[in-house]
Subunit: 319 residues, 2 copies
């Protein structure tokens, strides 16, 4: 078994698509080999740059991802794409036309595309995505693009993994309001005004700039707005260059190591939490049991300490 | 001991200031009696309305809290104030003048004021504040005002406990930019433009409104901006009425029960997490040990799974 995991790791590092695919499946299904594999691969990671792309459905995130991937491929850089967006064209239940369009990359061994399902309620998605990102890193993808529709906390946690976060907005999507979901505004390192040839683009840009003037710069970085028309490839080069500028800003400001330690502190706490919570609540019916208990507590039929003790006891975690 | 905790609980319910103070100390020091006491008190809770007040230092949060407290006292409603803001005048290291001003309430048994220290790194502050809020609820305070300077995640977690969150901003505090720290924008149910008689107030209000037009309304509520000049009591009545309107909005929209269950689900998960993380990391040197491990992982000297297993093992939590 150990030998097989080692061979598997070798194949992943060689960029073997089937080995990578099998590993993702193992991560998603929480198979014990996944951890063994990632342990072996971990020393080979740390080379990839993770870009998160988020925004409401219909903002054209997937097309932007597609064009960014092409941009890097033209520079002979390998690309990995992780789509955790259920509305994404490369995920299972999408419109065939879009799917085929993105699959222009399908025959290209330098681009790996994989969609991930939204699942679990204990941060499982963020953890799985983080592990797939490590895997693609080990497989030599210098750029990992993580696409997510910025809705729930879980997805915000996903995008927080990234080194750089792009928030995509479009004018005239019914009304400007729906473009900004809770939390999105604060996590954007770069704002992408896509479909910038549409009516209302200038007004949206003004609104965005007014909003950004209120946001605290992080470590000296003022989030810029980049206008794109992704299907026509307009603004994609500027966007890539802005990402590179952001990357350079943090690498040259000497805060890279501090940021990485902070990042791994949070990742370790997250890993600990998810391990422990899974043991406490992850069994069959864990979520509905928690909801029942919460309802009892809300009704004052049970106090929260008793509820927590019961959960710990039934999972063998009480001291 | 059990008898004594029961008597203690009785005194708390009777609103006895010394009994409440002792209980807060017990909660802060994590004494086992605190949990026993809160268990007894829990069935008596659920009556208080929690308002969180947050904003940068110098925005006048404390004066607003002071004036809101007076407003409720004039209506014969009991008030509890929890200050988790280190810059707050009623906390330990504050300017004497401000402290005396707020202590206008000191002789009034209908107002209970307590400051809490920022401490711990595992969400301990949020948990302690939540427990003090339950205590004040049991002690008959119909309005609990939680003041916090909106800086770290920990403090944002504190303010999330509240039923209604006020974000306080002022014009001309150096520059508008510093008023908005990460996360604040998204958690405000009502924005308070304090010191509204100052230059730049109109401009700030315009910026705020532009920004708010981009924010997704939550359950049909559009966060309004209320202008105040707290020392002159201007706008305080309108602010209180806006809080009441917000409260009514959620009570009448039939989403109250759903919100409460969601709230307690998160509280139970938080309680579980903090219990388990404390066991895993809470010992002496836990934080520095975590930072060391994170540095090793960032340098690829150790993989994250091994790091987490080592932590679990040394705390006796491994399976």
């Amino acid at each position: 078994m150990t030998v097989s995991v080692e061979k598997w790791a070798e194949s992943v590092c060689a960029g073997d698509v089937r080995a990578v695919s099998r590993a993702i499946t193992a991560i998603e299904n929480h198979q014990p080999e996944a951890e063994a594999l990632l342990r072996l691969l971990f020393p080979r990671t740390g080379q990839a740059y993770l870009t998160g792309i988020t925004g409401a459905p219909g903002t054209g995130k997937s097309t932007i991802v597609d064009r960014l991937a092409s941009y890097h491929r033209r520079k002979q850089e390998q690309v990995g794409v992780i789509a955790v967006d259920p509305t994404s064209p490369y995920s299972g239940g999408a419109i065939l036309g879009d799917r085929i369009r993105m699959q222009g990359h399908a025959g290209d061994a330098g681009t790996f595309i994989r969609s991930m399902a939204t699942r679990g309620f204990l941060g499982g998605l963020a953890r799985a995505t983080a592990e797939v990102a490590l895997l693609l890193d080990a497989a030599g993808k210098k750029h990992v693009l993580i696409e997510t529709v910025g809705v729930g906390q879980d997805e915000i946690d996903v995008v927080r993994l990234a080194d750089c976060v792009l928030v995509v907005l479009v004018p005239g999507l019914g009304d400007d309001i729906q473009n900004m979901k809770a939390g999105l505004m604060e996590i954007g390192d770069i704002f992408v005004l896509n479909k910038a040839d549409r009516e209302g683009a200038d007004r949206l840009e003004q609104q965005l700039l007014a909003m950004l003037s209120l946001v605290m710069p992080r470590d000296g970085w003022h989030p810029p707005v980049v206008r794109t028309v992704a299907p026509e490839n307009k603004g994609i080069e500027e966007l890539s260059e802005t990402v590179a500028k952001f990357r350079k800003h943090f690498e040259s400001s000497g805060q890279r190591q501090r940021k990485h330690i902070e990042h791994w502190k949070n990742r370790l706490i997250g890993l600990l939490e998810s391990r422990l919570l899974e043991r406490a609540l992850g069994g069959t019916g864990g979520e509905s049991r928690l909801a029942e208990m919460a309802a009892e507590v809300a009704d004052r039929k049970k106090d929260p300490f008793t509820a927590v003790n019961e959960i710990l006891k039934s999972s063998g975690l009480d001291d």
